[in-house]
Symmetry: C2
Subunit: 216 residues, 2 copies
């Protein structure tokens, strides 16, 4: 009887392409950040502030994923020469192949730092390796203090966790203690940085980023 090939693991195929991406990024000497957060957590606002802060210090590029529109790409294009927008349609995350296609539109050898703004979603993007050097998980206080506990896979696999919109703490119900307790319960060593990206309060994040970028 003829053996029928079965694709058992779509993630395995993804991982093979991610490995190619990672090799190319390493050869180019670019540090790559996969930024994962819910819709409206402030990923684009964080990247706007970050690109502004890094201007003249670091050559930056962005691959930005969204189900529809090129708005984020347009917002980020003001602060950075190399931006590619990927529209995923019904797709709820970026995969390594989409990143590879986007890389074909960039000159990665001219970059020190490449941000991949993933599709707004706290679940599926976590499972797909893109070839990044660092996975960054972004939460925001307006989402409520239970989001780390509800998304353990992101907490367990992120290189750093960011808590955005701390300027809204006075206006929403959010317990920092409870949020941090949930994170520590999952992972005692997790690094958490507080931000207010839309107010430009991102110094600790830039301090985290710059040495990683410069050691490439």
């Amino acid at each position: 009887m003829k053996t029928i090939p079965v694709v058992e693991n779509v993630l395995k195929l993804n991982d093979e392409v991610a490995l190619l991406n990672r090799r190319q990024f390493t050869q180019a000497g670019v540090f790559v950040v996969d930024l994962i957060g819910a819709p409206g957590s402030g990923k684009t606002a964080l990247l706007e502030a970050t690109l502004k802060a890094l201007a003249g210090r670091c050559r930056t590029g962005v691959i930005v994923g969204d189900p529809a529109t090129s708005r984020d790409g347009e917002r980020l294009g003001r602060y950075c020469e190399q931006v590619v927008q990927v529209n995923t349609g019904h797709g709820c995350h970026l995969d390594a192949n989409q990143v590879r296609q986007a890389m074909g539109r960039l000159n990665v050898t001219d970059l020190d730092l490449l941000f991949i703004e993933n599709v707004g979603n706290l679940i599926c993007p976590v499972g797909f390796d893109l070839g990044q050097n660092a996975k960054v998980g972004l939460f925001s206080v307006s989402e409520g203090d239970d989001k780390a506990a509800k998304h353990p896979h992101l907490v367990l696999t992120a290189d750093v966790l960011l808590l955005n919109k701390i300027d809204l703490l006075a206006y929403v119900s959010f317990s920092r203690d409870r949020f941090m307790e949930d994170i520590r319960h999952l992972r005692a060593d997790a690094e958490v940085i507080e931000l207010a990206a839309s107010k430009g309060l991102i110094k600790a994040w830039i301090d985290w980023l710059l040495p990683r970028c410069r050691t490439r």
Copy 2:
């Protein structure tokens, strides 16, 4: 040569189970709402306020989906006898089969109104019929005014759209005009209801809900 059966369309299988769910809901005379929104858009807060407002007027139940924890189920269990929590793990949406399993833990014949709080995600839940009567899309002002444009499939298929957290309008950058313009561009007849669920400001939503529930 042996013919190998191929599952061509996982959505087709889902739709068959959704049809069974819908038949059972109809027979039970229960009106079923599939509530879709981003993580932190206020789905659980809205249901808390809704269950409180409907107490004594309508027999309510909830199926609540989350990647992890039973926190939402516990919150809602205070206001409603029949609550089932579904933990989806790596799954980013509920499917008809999960709802069917949850229905086995409920007495649907004793309900007038069943809410299905979907997993926090604006993309995948939209594509999966659960057997509901109404699909409700929830946005919130703290997410930014671009979320309708970025999630056209939800806007195009929802029976009603809700805009939550209008109490935060003074503290965040959100243009109502831009949000509404994007919605009207996709769909001129879309119905949009503004809310502040955590402040109990949900009257227009209750007014939308009650006649639908009572005509069953």
